[in-house]
Amino acid sequence: MNERIAKLRQQSLEAKPAISAERARLLTEFYRKPGVGGLSYAMQRALAFKHVLENKTICINDGELIVGERGPAPKATPTYPEVCIHSSEDLKKLNDREKTPYAVDAETARIYADEIIPFWTGRSQRERIFSAMTQEWKNAYEAGIFTEFMEQRAPGHTVLDGKIYSKGMLDFKKDIEQSLAGLDFYHDPEAYDKKEELEAMAVCSEALISFAGRYAQKARELAAVERNSARKKELEEISEVCEWVPANAPRNFREALQHYWFIHLGVVTEFNTWDSFNPGRLDQHLLPFYRKGLEDGTLTKESAREFLQAFWVKFNNQPAPPKVGVTAEESSTYTDFALINVGGLKEDGSDAVNELSYLILEVVEEMRILQPSSMVQVSAKGPDKFVLKTLEIIRTGFGQPSVFNTDAIVQELVRQGKSVQDARNGGASGCVEAGAFGKEAYILTGYFNIPKVFEVTLHNGRDPRTGKKIGIETGNPADFKTFDELYNAFENQMRYFVEVKIRGSNVVEALYAKYLPAPFLSILINDCIARGKDYHGGGARYNSNYIQGVGLGTITDILASIKYNVYDKKKFSLEELASALDANFSGFEDMRQIIVNRTPKFGNDDDYADSLMRRVFESYFGAIDGRPTQRGGQYRVNLLPTTVHIYFGKMTGATADGRLAEDPVSEGVSPVQAADRNGPSAVIKSLAKLDHVRTGGTLLNMKFTPQLLDDDTGLIALKDLIRTYFRFMGHHIQFNVISADTLRDAQKNPDKYRDLVVRVAGYSDYFVDCGVDLQNEIISRTEHQEF
């Protein structure tokens, strides 16, 4: 990278994440204005958005080519009190905590105490949500059966498609006006609501243009006093670019990136969306600008690289909005899951890998920063060269990119009812979630702790951790004469908790649709403008709600252990086992060893265990898939954990697979840590027995020590391992290439390893920023050494 980028990168790495009260203050200022309460919710939101963008600090950093910050400075992170209020204690905790702290200065704490907290208390979405939940929901939530994403972040989870590269905000405004003109107040009972929504969208589109205008103005001012003539010229160019985009469609490579970036800032200023908003298929969107620039001489490969790298830094300057409470436990990280997609298929079904795909991979390799995250889409039609290039980056131990199967993604989306073209234009976002980019609201509603449900089953509806009755009565261990009787009880218990979760999610969804519409995001996602409906209210072409199953490996091994040891081999009774679990195996070490070393386990290509994995999947899928949502969409399943497997583990006692109380449950669809003992091909074969196509994403984590990849033989074999997994329609695979010894050393000497990025679960993080439990878990994950 050149000197400019090296400097920008260093600035970004060194900037300390901090809480900024600016957005909260401006929002409060707006809502205090007289007359606001009389406006429709959509218009309130739009005018609040406008007020923030018209008054927030404009920040152009020294040497920048792509401009715009979400907060007043790099890594100054805004808050969203209309969704969730950080209490003074929360702020103190964020400031003081050792891992992933956010600095909170005295002035911020004061503004919060004096203005933000008093005004928003009683008005926040989080309070609305918790007061609307049933006792059953609260019992399950507090016991760690499931989490709820939307209690402190808005239901974002979508990714942009290519439409913005041929449209500016003025063009969108025309579309909005056209939709307004077409409203039928005589026959459409929703016409008035649509009018309010569309007018709110129009306000938002203007607000973004004027925000960019403020950047143009600032750049002009800086240019006027700039002594360095080269920088002066750059600032003048920035000013011109910001005057053109996002009002108009971009005309060249640089404008395309700046255009996207303003739109990105609009989305993340409107809401703290869960999560992952990003440009999606960047190598596809930028290709026409790239080729045209090279052709007419206005761009070189090197200048394109520089713009991309400058763009990368912008993502890294925006840490995730800090979470609180349970949500901070499940996902405490600076990364906000923006996952740039590279490769895949074109809309017509042909191979989409192009010269820009490789350039972007080079940028990823060179930048080595936390955000944005990157992934490659590998289709059967894509070249091996593309996969090998990816693996060359992976083997440097940086944890990126992750590897996805385009053919599985397309099948998954088509099964859900999307057109094949919309599916091919889609990809994966967040951790591993498949989506029809630019056309779908696919909301993650929360994680679901499958092993915990089994624990409650073994205690006839009680949570042994608290003694509280949280589930339904399905029988005591002595009652189950056969494995199938036990399994049926578990399945019934699972259905019960799914009902509780879905009821809660439906209410949460209705609360967002009613109180907190997202008119700016609605401009960007088809067909909100055409339908005159908000993104939160079913305006998107496709609407999906996910419940993310966690602990597939653990529950499979639990069931295999019980079927094998209790019912088939009769080594001990279910009651004896239940006593051992209640004692956390203390005094039952022989039993635990039998379970750990002499029992079939998932991940070894052993049908005994793997068929139970399929059975659990069918039960989980059957309880959820296809259920209607409030927005007119469907509930779907996927299997990914972020870091919630640690939290869920803490909430779950000892399990029949030999896991001790409070240890993490298995993550994603990976086998239980260290339970796979037949090498990587056996893991792949076990995972291939899962019907990935009926999910919206699965996450498989494999850790390789560098030795296995340091020659071409290892690299090519790994490529073929991936290709084979994808022939079996596996959805995703990611690799940690690192030695356990290195990690242990890093744990002891964090200062020596500040730059050590590891793949955690669907994203990468600085190893030294991970909590000690997570660090230990990463270390203990099976190292796939060649024997």
């Binding site: 090498g679 091909s681 792949i684 033989t713 074999a717 391992l721 060649e786």
Partner: protein, 301 residues
């Protein structure tokens, strides 16, 4: 027909091309002092004991019907291997997998079932199955039957051998496989005897007999400091390989101490020798010599 196997490893990537499953035959006519798989030498079952896994539960002591396992004054496990009849009661009793019987008699179908599990990986990568040991030729009938059965499935075979086998049998079997991985160690006959226990005459004859045949020959050379890494021996190996015409691939396997660790677990450390590790400089020097002679080098396989 059953064969005696001591291990089957999936995702082997250094025993021939692509992703492979490697089958280890138990029993070998050679006794190399550096042997990397000492549990492959004896055709009999053997007891392996891992002190590192042992939690001193003494379940093995209680389980042994012949009192071949005892604990000494310090509480350490002592195995009298002369008394032991390999009944396996101790291994069944040990929940920590600290004591195990090495070797398993398997039918052709049982082995085949294991091999077929990764057929998709073989197809994708141009890999297949590798038979090694021990010495596969030590169980000739089983080997031939297994080769015929595997050939039926469309999986491709690489046969890893020391070449120490009767000439007629050797040629017949070799003609049935597409790849032979051929181990050459020491060219001087006296030194060969000294370090491996057998003459290399048959080995070299069989090697030369491969010249010009359809089967692909991959040469494998373990590099053992002080035993065979001298320039003279390396040059002699290069010369004989060049004469062949159909040898292109050479795998160089630097000595490692893993074999010695296993020998200790077998209670057989005294019949092996601990050599020095091969220095990087020495390795590079030898690799360069092979490269200059026009061979393609694979380190470790």
């Amino acid at each position: 027909m059953k064969g005696r196997i001591f291990d089957i490893r999936r995702y082997s990537i250094h025993d021939g091309p692509g992703i492979r499953t490697t089958v280890f035959f138990k029993g070998c006519p050679l006794h190399c002092l550096w042997c990397h798989n000492p549990e492959g030498i004896s055709q009999a079952f053997e007891l392996m004991y891992w002190p590192s896994r042992c939690r001193k539960s003494y379940d093995c002591v209680k389980a042994c019907p012949l009192k071949a396992i005892t604990k000494d004054g310090k509480g350490e496990i002592i195995i009298d291997r002369n008394l032991c009849d390999l009944c396996g009661e101790c291994a069944a009793a040990c929940l920590y997998e600290a004591i195990q019987v090495v070797g398993r008699d398997m039918t052709v179908d049982e082995v085949l079932l294991e091999l077929k599990k990764d057929q998709a990986f073989f197809d994708q990568s141009g890999g297949g199955v590798t038979f090694t040991g021990g010495e596969p030729f030590n169980q000739p009938e089983f080997l031939e039957e297994l080769i015929d059965a595997v050939n039926e499935t469309g999986m491709t075979i690489a046969l890893d051998t020391s070449g120490f086998a009767p000439a007629g049998l050797f040629r017949k079997i070799v003609s049935k496989v597409p790849i032979v991985l051929y181990d050459l160690k020491i060219m001087d006959e006296t030194r060969h005897k000294e370090f491996t226990g057998v003459s290399n005459r048959i080995i070299l004859e069989n090697f030369r007999s491969l010249s010009g045949i359809k089967t692909e020959v991959w040469l494998r050379v373990p590099l053992i400091p002080g035993a065979n890494d001298d320039d003279e021996n390396i040059k002699a190996i290069i010369d004989v390989a060049r004469e062949m015409g159909n040898v292109r691939n050479v795998g160089l396997l630097p000595y490692h101490w893993g074999g010695m660790d296993k020998a200790v677990r077998l209670g057989a450390a005294s019949s092996f020798r601990r050599f020095e590790g091969l220095t990087d400089e020495r390795y590079e020097h030898i690799e360069a010599a092979f490269r200059e002679a026009g061979f393609e080098i694979r380190k470790g396989g």
